[in-house]
C-alpha cells in the first residue's frame, strides 16, 4: 500500500505543477490574449472573417444557448452521416461497411455530448476517415463546448448589470486553437514515441512464432494486427475528457497505451484541464482562493476514492483463495485481482486510472471495470453517480460543482436565516431552481432508465454476468451515460435499441438538460449587481466551506443511490 500512496502523491504533484500555469494561461486566452501562441492570431481572424463573426459581438444567454445547441446539433448530424456513408469514402483500408443506424445514432450522440460511450468496436466498425473526421473532431468540439459554458458562467459572476455573456463562436474557436490543439499535438507526439501507432496504412500481418491450432482444427500461421491514426485521436480523447477509444478495448490496447510512461501521461491528461480550470476560474473571478477551495474538494474526494479502489483490488478475488493461485502483492508481481488487467500497468496503475477516469467524466479504460471486485467496482461507479463534479468533464465538471456550491450556500443560508450569496451575487429563487434541476437530472435519468431496464426483457438482455453483478452492469451503464462519463462494465450486451437509442437519449438529456439551466443562471447572474461581502456573508473560500460542500455532495449522492448500490455491488460483495 505504501508504494500505492507514493504513486498517488507523485501523480497529483506532477498534475498540479502542470495545471496551474495552464489554468492561468487559459484565463488569459478567454480574455483575448493567447500569449506566445499569438502567431496563430491570423488564423483565428481568418475563421471569423469566413464565418462572418464580428469580434465585438456579444451574446445574451439565450443567443449563446441557441448557438451552442445548433452547433452541437450540426455536429451530431455530421458524425451520424459519416458513419452511414463511410463504406463509399476513402481512408478505409479494412473496407468496413456503413454502421447500422441505431448504433450510428448512439455513437453520434455519445461523442457530441462528450460521453464517448463505446458500443462501437473501433477497429472493426469504423473507417479511419470516420475516426478522424467524425470522432476526433467531436473530441475537440464537445470539449470546447463544455469549456465555453463554464466560461460563460464565470462571466455571469464576474460581470454586473449586463446581458452579455461573451460570444459562443469566439469562445470555442479560441479554446480549440490556443488550448486543445497545441496540447493535443504535444501529447500525441509523446505517445507515438512510446509506441502508440499513427499511420494510415492498413493492418499488418505477421507470422506466429508458434503456429496455433484453432478449435475447428485449422492451423493458423499468422496474426493480423489492426493499426491506424490512433495517437492523434487518443491525445485529444484524454485531454478533452472524451474517452472513446480508437480500438475496442480502449487504453488497455498495447497500441493505445504501450508503456507505464504512456499510461502516466494519459492519466495526467485525463485530469489536466479539469484541474487547470479551477485556477482559470479563480483568476477570472479575481479571487484565487475560491478556485483552490473547489480544487481541494475535488482532490479530497478523489484521493479517498482512489485509495479505496486500489485497496479493494489488492485484496484479490476470495474465490481463488483455496485454489493454487498466488494473489500476493510482492516485489515480483503486483498480485491482487488481475482478471481484466494488463501486466505492464500492474494493479495500482490500473485501479488509479479507474478512479481518475470515473472522477473525470473521461471514461477511457486501461482495465476492464466489469471484472473488478465488487468494492473495486463500487467506488468508480459512485464517482460517476456523484454527478461527475469531482473533476468531471472539461468545463462541465466545474459548472456542476458550482451548482453544488449554490446548493451548499443555500442550505447554509437557511440555517442562519440569511439570503445566500456566492461570489458576491445574491442567490435567489431562480438560481436555486436551476441549480436543483442541474443536480437532480442525472440521478433521475440514471435511476429511471435502470428501473425500466430491470423491469423489461429488453433491458435485462444486456446483463451478461449472473446475479447481482448483472444488475451492476445495467446500473453502471446508465450511471455512465446519465452522467456523460462513457466507461462501461463492458460485458454489457448493448445491441438492443433500448440501449442504443434509449442510451443516446439519456446522454443527450444529461448533457443539454444541464447546459441550458447553467447558461440561464449565468444570464441571470450577469444582470445582478455585485454586493460587497459583509460580516454576515458566509465565506466560501475556507476549509469549513470546502468540508460543507463535500458533505452536501456525498449526502445527495448517497441519498440517491444507496438503495441501488446495495442491490448491486454490496450484495455481490456479501455473496463472495
Amino acid at each position: 500500500m505504501m508504494t500505492a500512496i507514493i504513486q498517488i502523491v507523485f501523480y497529483l504533484l506532477i498534475l498540479l505543477l502542470l495545471a496551474r500555469p495552464l489554468g492561468l494561461m487559459m484565463a488569459r486566452v478567454y480574455e483575448g490574449d493567447p500569449g506566445w501562441l499569438r502567431f496563430l492570431r491570423p488564423l483565428e481572424h481568418l475563421f471569423y472573417r469566413l464565418a462572418g463573426i464580428a469580434e465585438n459581438q456579444a451574446m445574451s444567454w439565450r443567443q449563446y444557448t441557441l448557438a451552442l445547441l445548433l452547433f452541437n446539433g450540426g455536429g451530431l448530424l455530421l458524425v451520424y452521416l459519416l458513419q452511414q456513408i463511410q463504406g463509399w469514402l476513402p481512408l478505409n483500408p479494412q473496407a468496413v461497411p456503413s454502421v447500422e443506424p441505431a448504433l450510428a445514432f448512439n455513437t453520434a450522440a455519445s461523442f457530441v455530448s462528450n460521453t464517448d460511450w463505446q458500443f462501437y468496436a473501433g477497429e472493426t466498425t469504423l473507417s479511419y476517415l470516420t475516426q478522424m473526421m467524425g470522432l476526433t473532431v467531436q473530441n475537440f468540439l464537445s470539449a470546447a463546448t463544455g469549456m465555453a459554458v463554464l466560461v460563460a458562467l464565470i462571466r455571469g459572476f464576474s460581470r454586473q448589470h449586463t446581458t452579455e455573456l461573451g460570444n459562443f463562436w469566439i469562445d470555442i474557436t479560441r479554446t480549440v486553437l490556443y488550448i486543445l490543439l497545441p496540447l493535443a499535438i504535444i501529447l500525441a507526439l509523446f505517445l507515438v514515441s512510446q509506441g502508440v501507432v499513427q499511420t494510415v496504412a492498413a493492418a499488418e500481418t505477421v507470422p506466429l512464432l508458434e503456429p496455433m491450432t484453432a478449435s475447428d482444427g485449422t492451423v493458423i500461421m499468422s496474426q493480423t494486427i489492426a493499426r491506424g491514426p490512433a495517437a492523434s485521436q487518443i491525445a485529444i480523447k484524454q485531454l478533452g475528457t472524451n474517452g472513446g477509444g480508437f480500438f475496442n478495448v480502449n487504453a488497455a490496447h498495447p497500441f493505445e497505451n504501450p508503456t507505464p510512461l504512456s499510461n502516466l501521461l494519459q492519466m495526467l491528461a485525463i485530469l489536466l484541464i479539469p484541474t487547470a480550470l479551477c485556477f482559470t476560474f479563480g483568476q477570472m473571478i479575481g479571487d484565487k482562493r475560491q478556485g483552490t477551495t473547489l480544487l481541494m474538494v475535488m482532490l479530497i474526494i478523489f484521493v479517498s476514492f482512489a485509495a479505496m479502489t486500489i485497496y479493494a483490488e489488492q485484496q484479490g478475488n476470495p474465490r481463488l483463495d483455496d485454489m493454487a493461485v498466488n494473489q500476493q502483492v510482492n516485489d515480483i508481481q503486483s498480485g491482487g485481482n488481475m482478471e481484466g488487467k494488463e501486466v505492464r500497468f500492474g494493479l495500482v496503475s490500473s485501479a488509479l486510472w479507474a478512479a481518475a477516469t470515473t472522477a473525470a467524466s473521461n471514461g477511457s479504460v486501461n482495465s476492464m471495470h466489469d471484472a473488478y471486485t465488487p468494492l473495486g467496482g463500487l467506488f468508480p461507479l459512485l464517482l460517476m453517480q456523484l454527478g461527475e463534479v469531482i473533476f468531471g468533464g472539461v468545463g462541465s465538471g466545474l459548472y456542476g460543482l458550482i451548482a453544488f456550491a449554490l446548493v451548499a450556500v443555500f442550505v447554509a443560508g437557511l440555517m442562519v436565516g440569511r439570503t445566500p450569496e456566492y461570489l458576491g451575487k445574491k442567490i435567489e429563487t431562480f438560481e436555486m431552481k436551476m441549480a436543483t434541476v442541474v443536480i437532480l437530472i442525472p440521478p433521475l435519468v440514471v435511476l429511471l432508465w435502470t428501473a425500466i431496464a430491470v423491469s423489461s426483457t429488453a433491458g435485462l438482455s444486456g446483463a451478461t454476468n449472473p446475479g447481482p453483478h448483472g444488475f451492476s452492469q445495467i446500473l453502471y451503464a446508465f450511471s455512465s451515460m446519465g452522467n456523460n462519463n462513457g466507461s462501461a462494465f463492458a460485458g454489457l450486451d448493448g445491441r438492443h435499441p433500448f440501449f442504443t437509442i434509449g442510451g443516446a437519449l439519456a446522454m443527450l438529456i444529461a448533457r443539454y438538460g444541464l447546459i441550458v439551466p447553467v447558461l440561464a443562471v449565468a444570464g441571470s447572474l450577469a444582470g445582478k449587481q455585485k454586493i460587497p461581502a459583509t460580516a454576515g456573508t458566509l465565506p466560501t473560500d475556507t476549509p469549513l466551506f470546502g468540508g460543507w460542500l463535500i458533505i452536501i455532495i456525498l449526502v445527495v449522492g448517497a441519498l440517491s443511490f444507496l438503495p441501488a448500490l446495495v442491490l448491486g455491488p454490496i450484495v455481490e460483495y456479501l455473496l463472495l
Binding site: A184, Q223, P258, I332, A371
Partner: protein, 195 residues
C-alpha cells in the same frame, strides 16, 4: 428568435474545424510521426533478416511447453486475435471465472507436475486487451524449470535470460517488473540456434 444569423457561423465553423482537427491535424501528425518515430508509429514491428516476425507490443499465443506462456486471452474467434481486441468482462462472482481458472491451472500443472508452487495470478487470469505482451516476473520465474527441462538447458541459463529481459517499473513506481513473452521466446530460440 431568428435562426438565419446563426446559419453562416454554424456551417462555416463546422466545416473549418472538421478540416482543421479532422484532416489537417491527424494527417500532419501522421507525417511527423512517420518522420520522427517511424518504428513506433507503424506498430513496433520486430524484424529478423529483413522479414517481419511480430510486434514488440502485441502478444502471441504459446502452448508448447518449451516456450514461455503468456496471459490467457479472450479474443474471438482465436486467442491473441489482433484484428479485434477483446478483454475479460467476467465478474469475480461469476462461476464461469472459477471454472476457467481451474482449467488453466490443470494445464499448467500437467505440463510441470513437479512444481509445487502456487501459480502467479496473472498467468491464470485473462488480460484486458486479449493481446497483453507481458507476464509478471513471478509468472516467468514460475515457468523456468519447465522450460529448462523441455529444452535440456541448465535452469540457471534460463533464469539469466529471464533477468536480462526483465523490464522494470517506471521510476521504480508505475507498473510492475515484467517480461515480454514473444521477445523472451525469440531469445530462447536464439540461444540454441547459435552454439
Amino acid at each position: 428568435m431568428r435562426l438565419l444569423p446563426y446559419l453562416r457561423p454554424l456551417l462555416v465553423l463546422l466545416a473549418l474545424f472538421t478540416l482543421l482537427t479532422g484532416l489537417l491535424y491527424p494527417l500532419a501528425l501522421t507525417a511527423l510521426a512517420q518522420i520522427i518515430f517511424p518504428w513506433q508509429a507503424n506498430g513496433s514491428l520486430l524484424t529478423h533478416e529483413r522479414a517481419v516476425i511480430g510486434s514488440a507490443l502485441i502478444g502471441q499465443p504459446f502452448v508448447d511447453p518449451a516456450y514461455f506462456w503468456g496471459r490467457p486471452s479472450l479474443t474471438e474467434p482465436v486467442p491473441y486475435h489482433a484484428a479485434a481486441s477483446k478483454g475479460s468482462n467476467i465478474a469475480p462472482s461469476n462461476p464461469l471465472l472459477t471454472e476457467q481458472i481451474q482449467a488453466r491451472l490443470h494445464i499448467l500443472q500437467a505440463a510441470d507436475p513437479e512444481n509445487p508452487l502456487p501459480v502467479p495470478v496473472d498467468l491464470v487470469t485473462a488480460s484486458a486487451s486479449g493481446l497483453d505482451p507481458h507476464i509478471s516476473l513471478a509468472a516467468a520465474l514460475y515457468q523456468v524449470n519447465r522450460i529448462a527441462r523441455e529444452r535440456g538447458l541448465p535452469a540457471a541459463t534460463v533464469t539469466r535470460l529471464v533477468q536480462q529481459h526483465t523490464e522494470t517499473p517506471l521510476w521504480g513506481l508505475y507498473g510492475q517488473p515484467r517480461v515480454n513473452v514473444l521477445r523472451l521466446n525469440l531469445a530462447l530460440d536464439g540461444l540454441q540456434s547459435t552454439p
